[in-house]
């Protein structure tokens, strides 16, 4: 087994673990962490697979730098939104979010007419 393949397999495992976390975890903060693991896995595959005979290829290194910047921006936005959701509802876990979205916007059919939150964005 070559070094490149080892990195790639580790990267794919990290990616799979992270993706499973984003889908399956309830707490939003954990999902953000899982997304970061997922992104690291993809970057590891990008850098690891691209070595030619043990000599690293500079192009994917530059790409991974860009990828890290994107991941930092996405993480920052996610954290800001989670803080706002926590301030507005007192919860930061996916379950309550799930219920609220189902009750107010997701299902659409069971919406009480007088509900204030759902229509606020339209004003």
């Amino acid at each position: 087994m070559s070094g490149a393949l080892l990195y790639a397999i580790a990267g794919v495992l990290l990616f799979a673990a992270g993706a499973a976390g984003v889908v399956l975890l309830d707490h939003l903060l954990r999902r953000v962490l899982a997304f970061n693991i997922m992104g690291s896995g993809a970057c590891l595959v990008l850098v690891g697979l691209a070595q030619r005979n043990g000599i690293p290829d500079p192009v994917p290194q530059a790409m991974v730098l860009t990828g890290i910047v994107v991941a930092v921006a996405a993480t920052g936005l996610a954290l800001a939104l989670i803080r706002r959701l926590h301030a507005q509802t007192g919860h930061a876990d996916g379950k309550t979010e799930e219920e609220r979205v189902k009750g107010e916007t997701g299902a659409g059919c069971s919406l009480p007419a007088s509900h204030s939150v759902a229509g606020r964005g339209d004003d």
Binding site: G39, A42, A74, R84, L85, R100, S110, V117, D122, D123
Partner: protein, 530 residues
């Protein structure tokens, strides 16, 4: 004038990205809620640039620009071909009227903007810059970066509604988008590992060669990469089983944001699906072409069903988006040309444009109606015909294009699609397209029927009392978008098909479509008879 526009064309590639970035940053510096005039002026310039670019591409073929003079593989190459030019034109053509609409919508109470519009201008600028960069990108890694730019700006816009429901919808959208682009990035990493390039032009022959010599390891890696990229992009495109994030995000945002998202943002990832599926990844994915078609069919049926039963007006429009996006996946197995000589990708571009203009108009009209009545249930549109005749007309005109009634752009696209499906002998697709049109008629006439109801005098009096003023400019801009969607079928269709199909195909398309349109009008009457 035309020569001057042609001289502008090479400059248009970098300017279409730099200009929105510049005014977005300026709008942010100016402070909350400001920068609307700047944005509108810049959007007008961008529309002119996109026109210059499209006419130059039509006359002289694809244009290239090496960003900063570096060129691939170290730098970034920008390329505008017919498909990219058409999508750029759609983006600017929807953005300009929507920005004028948004200015009226957010600034209706004097100079102080609505809280929901505080961060609209910078975010909209970054969104447009990201989309323009996406359409101009030539390498699959730069496409990843632009995809993320678009996604992050769109999530910010969804959250700008301010309520807890909007924040929750924005988070759900963000996680779906990140999961999708993560899968896409892993696919890019695998492709780079196998072939050592991210340029689409370089990858196309390499992938074709690898898949021709089956058994080589590169072919399997490329297939896995292709599947990952497609799964990620379908997630971002909200194709049927992945549509869960779209209705709350699009239905809950302020009206100008919903219109931007539904008309433009989902098109960006669908553009990528088409570009990759019909381009570099074609040798790998062609055997799977029926899968997205099946999902698209399910999207048309399920989205229409939910729209018919939606309680809230904006959810109705959002579920209509889920259904209309399904059409864009129907033609993937129909590579080649039908009796009219128009290719599948040209027809899909036409459908994307018709839906983009029509849906922007419909969300804008829905926003005006909700603002005027102060409530957002479908039942609340009762009696609106007397109070907002222009806006209701806008809603109906946009509906004409979504249903696929002649002479709208939606009709032309759906009719060409039916023609192509019949040329290939795929009769079930014809049935799906016709059924989709009928279902769209049901949910649109549901709104129109209620709007013309006669309310008791006392109720009308009470409604008038609490009615809020909607700026005329906002109403007229929504109408402009709807009219453009209809006029697209009359005047814009042929040049657009020629633009996407390239210079050589131009003659065939023109004669084919004009000769085919006569039977088309009769079959269109069938589509439109609910």
């Amino acid at each position: 004038m035309t020569e001057r526009l042609a001289m502008l064309a090479p400059l248009a590639l970098p300017l279409l990205i730099l200009l929105p970035l510049a005014w977005a940053a300026l709008a942010f510096v100016l402070g909350t809620g400001r920068g609307s005039r700047l944005a509108i002026a810049a959007a007008a310039v961008q529309l002119m640039l996109a026109f210059a670019l499209a006419s130059a591409v039509m006359d002289g073929g694809p244009l290239h620009h090496a960003a900063g003079g570096w060129g691939a593989p170290l730098g970034i190459d920008l390329v505008a071909d017919g498909l990219a030019a058409a999508m750029l034109l759609l983006t600017q053509a929807v953005a300009l009227p929507l920005f004028i609409f948004a200015r009226g919508y957010f600034h209706q109470d004097g100079a102080r903007p609505d809280a929901a519009g505080h961060h609209f201008w910078p975010l909209a600028g970054f969104l447009v810059a990201g989309m323009n960069a996406l359409y101009l990108s030539e390498d699959i890694f730069n496409l990843y970066v632009t995809l993320e730019l678009v996604g992050l700006a769109a999530v910010g816009l969804v959250a700008s509604g301010g309520g807890a429901a909007q924040t929750a919808a924005a988070l759900r959208y963000l996680f779906a988008a990140l999961l999708g682009s993560g899968a896409y990035l892993l696919g890019v990493a695998l492709l780079y590992g196998a072939f050592g390039s991210v340029s689409m032009a370089t990858l196309t022959p390499l992938i074709a060669g690898a898949s021709a010599s089956a058994g080589a390891g590169a072919s399997e890696v490329a297939l896995i990469a292709a599947l990952l990229m497609m799964a990620g992009l379908l997630m971002k495109s909200a194709l049927f089983p992945f549509h869960f994030w779209l209705p709350p995000a699009h239905g809950g945002a302020p009206a100008p944001v919903s219109a931007l998202l539904s008309a433009l943002v989902v098109k960006a990832s669908i553009y990528l699906v088409l570009r990759l599926w019909l381009g570099p990844l074609a040798p790998l994915l062609t055997p799977l072409a029926w899968l997205p078609t099946l999902l698209g069919t399910a999207a048309i049926l399920w989205g229409s069903w939910r729209a018919i039963h939606a309680e809230r007006l904006k959810l109705l429009v959002a579920y209509s988006t889920v259904a209309q996006l399904g059409y864009l996946f129907l033609a993937l197995p129909l590579v080649g040309v039908g009796s009219t000589g128009a290719s599948a990708s040209a027809i899909l571009t036409l459908q994307a444009l018709a839906h983009g203009l029509g849906k922007a108009a419909m969300f804008a009209a829905a926003g005006i109606i909700i603002h005027a009545t102060g409530r957002d249930r479908v039942d609340d549109v009762a009696g609106i015909a007397e109070r907002l005749p222009l806006t209701l007309f806008t809603f109906a005109l946009a509906g004409v294009s979504l249903m696929g009634l002649p002479p709208s752009g939606g009709f032309l696209a759906k009719w060409l699609l039916i023609d192509l499906a019949m040329a290939r002998g795929h009769w079930p697709l014809v049935a799906v397209i016709l059924a989709g049109g009928l279902l769209a008629a049901i949910y649109i006439f549901r709104v129109l029927r209620l709007a013309f109801l006669n309310l008791p005098e006392a109720v009308i009096e009470a409604e008038h009392h609490k009615a809020r003023v909607v700026p005329r400019s906002a109403e007229w801009m929504a109408f402009t978008l709807a009219a453009a969607s209809v006029l697209l079928g009359l005047f814009g269709g042929l040049p657009l098909l020629q633009l996407v199909d390239g210079v050589g195909a131009g003659e065939g398309v023109t004669s084919g479509v004009t000769s085919g349109l006569v039977p088309g009008l009769t079959s269109g009457a069938v589509v439109g008879a609910p």
